[in-house]
């Protein structure tokens, strides 16, 4: 794409200067305009292909963000359920500690088992704190992903607009170079003092001055 753009840019930049050096009816003038027109078409095609690829990538990215959001949105419910399940597990361990304390009757042989239960209770408490932390960040993370998705969708839509606008621009460039060529032919006719008959309507055809 860069190469096509550079080629067109060089030709377009030098077009007027190169034509000025030529006589009005020198065939090199029409050839120079046609060459720039073809380079313009090639550039437009390359940019359009790039935009199409970018559009596909934007659509994929928005779809991926949609999947992330679909994974984040139910997390609030998951975390609430996690908290509830954990509370039940903590209750279970607390009950085991209480019953074992009663049945152990301070016999040292139970120390290891009791210590392990307390360690489990401490681990569950840490797990509960971790879930609290996750709950504390879940909403904001979800909002961020929702915002990202909305903007990716806006960017994707804008890319489609660019593609459409660039396609329209491409046909305008073609029309401009056609008009430029017609002008060159009119300059030649005027230099020869020849009057062209009105051109018959020809679909897609560039106006061609008919010489008498």
């Amino acid at each position: 794409m860069k190469q096509r753009t550079a080629q067109w840019d060089t030709l377009a930049r030098n077009l007027d200067a190169s034509i000025l050096r030529l006589l009005p009816c020198d065939p090199k003038a029409a050839a120079a305009i046609t060459e720039v027109s073809k380079a313009s078409d090639a550039r437009v095609a390359a940019v359009a292909a790039y935009l199409e690829a970018a559009g596909r990538q934007a659509a994929l990215q928005a779809a991926a963000a949609q999947r992330v959001l679909a994974s984040v949105e139910p997390l609030g419910g998951d975390l609430a359920a996690e908290k509830s399940a954990l509370a039940q597990e903590q209750l279970g361990v607390a009950g085991q500690i209480a019953i074992l304390t009663d049945s152990a009757q301070h016999r040292p042989s139970f120390n290891a088992a009791q210590d392990t239960l307390r360690q489990i209770a401490a681990l569950e408490q840490q797990r509960s704190e971790a879930v609290d932390s996750a709950i504390g960040h879940d909403d904001a993370a979800g909002q961020g992903v929702r915002g990202l998705l909305a903007q990716l969708e806006a960017a994707e839509a804008a890319l489609k607009d660019i593609q459409a606008a660039f396609a329209a621009e491409g046909s305008r460039w073609s029309a401009y170079y056609a008009a430029r060529l017609t002008r060159a032919q009119a300059e030649c006719a005027a230099a020869r003092g020849v009057v062209a008959t009105p051109a018959r309507p020809q679909p897609q055809a560039q106006p061609q001055g008919k010489q008498k």
Binding site: Q61, A85, Q105
Partner: protein, 360 residues
């Protein structure tokens, strides 16, 4: 962060988002099965003796099944969010490069429109038909240039909208990235803790079976079920200068209590005594300075003989093999114990601390 060259860069996405995985129902069923299998286990532990062993073995199996199901569920939850975080980190949103600079092209069309217009007006009053046809050619070219200019302007506006959307998307990605690491990290931590808990359950049931076996041959102390947390409690043999109840028991750190060195989040210390010999454990987590990658968790066990001194000093060994000492220093109030410890220095590990604990 990896930069992508292409506009709206995309990484390969997403086998990451498969939603199927271990279900909550799986671990709930395992939990129910475990808890309902032998609810009298701890109650009977004091008297069952060796008969408890097969029951603890069954309970251990059920606990392991629960631990596996619970761990799998938490890992799945954590991994999905970790995948999301990775996607967020990698998928930077970049605006389109300037493919066809509109301002340059608009300048070109403006210049040409002016030049062609000037040429056309030059021949406005020349009656020659050939010249008039040339003037008309100039006018058609001028119209084509004006249409081209309008098309370039339309495309420029669409590009501006796309750029604004890309910048806003990047800001939203940044906002999500401010929160997501905390979320993913909390879930990862939760899954890791569940692994530790499963390991602890695996240790608990054999310990319970062994305790029951030993207890069947050891009568309970004459006074039982009375906490040793006050001076009114039965006193242990007076090996130290102070009653052993000033050292023995379960001690915990309370928020707001005094400490020196790293600030504790929690500290649990258990001290046991048997025939003048102390054994105990410390399990603690300390707050680390912001940005620190160290490990704030500390576990160690300690043992040694009580001595006829106020302060008791014992040898300790941490869970990762560092050696050190712990001093138990009875506080002013009977239910306060100062714990001072030092271990060998290991990179990223807590190696010293001094905290006031309260009897639990």
């Amino acid at each position: 962060m990896r930069r992508r060259g292409a506009a709206f860069a995309m990484t390969g996405v997403l086998c990451l988002f498969a939603q199927s995985g271990p279900s909550r129902d799986d671990y709930r069923a395992a939990y129910k099965s475990w808890r309902e299998a032998d609810p009298g286990l701890e109650r009977d532990a004091g008297t069952a003796g060796e008969a408890l062993a097969p029951r603890t073995a069954r309970a251990a199996d059920a606990a392991a099944a629960f631990g596996a199901a619970r761990g799998a569920f938490l890992r799945d939850l954590s991994e999905r969010q970790a995948d999301n975080l990775q996607w967020l980190v990698e998928n930077e949103v970049q605006p389109l490069p300037d493919l066809s600079p509109a301002p340059d092209l608009i300048r070109f069309t403006d210049r040409e429109i002016a030049a062609v217009g000037t040429s056309a007006s030059t021949f406005a009053n020349v009656p020659d038909r050939a010249i008039q046809q040339l003037r008309q050619a100039y006018q058609r070219e001028q119209a084509a240039l004006a249409a081209l200019r309008a098309a370039i302007t339309d495309r420029q506006k669409a590009e501006e909208r796309a750029t604004q959307a890309a910048l806003a998307a990047e800001q939203a990605r940044g906002k999500a990235l401010e929160q997501y690491p905390f979320l993913a990290s909390a879930l990862t931590q939760s899954a890791g803790l569940m692994n530790q808990e499963a390991a602890a359950w695996a240790a608990y049931y054999p310990a319970l079976a062994e305790a029951s076996r030993l207890a069947s041959s050891t009568p309970a102390p004459p006074v039982s079920g009375v906490p040793v947390s006050s001076d009114a409690a039965p006193r242990a043999p007076s090996i130290a200068l102070l009653p052993l109840s000033r050292y023995v028991g379960v001690w915990g750190f309370q928020a707001g209590s005094k400490f020196f060195g790293p600030e504790p989040e929690f500290v649990d210390v258990a001290v046991h005594e048997e025939n003048g010999h102390a054994t105990g454990t410390l399990y603690a987590r300390f707050k680390l300075p912001p940005g620190s990658t160290g490990d704030g968790v500390l576990r160690f066990s300690f043992s040694g003989d009580f001595t006829a001194t106020r302060n008791q000093s014992f040898a300790l060994e941490t869970s990762d093999g560092a050696m050190g000492t712990i001093d138990l220093i009875p506080g002013g109030p009977f239910n306060v114990l100062e714990v001072n410890f030092n271990t060998e220095v290991k990179a990223g590990k807590i190696h010293q601390g001094d905290v006031l604990l309260v009897k639990q």
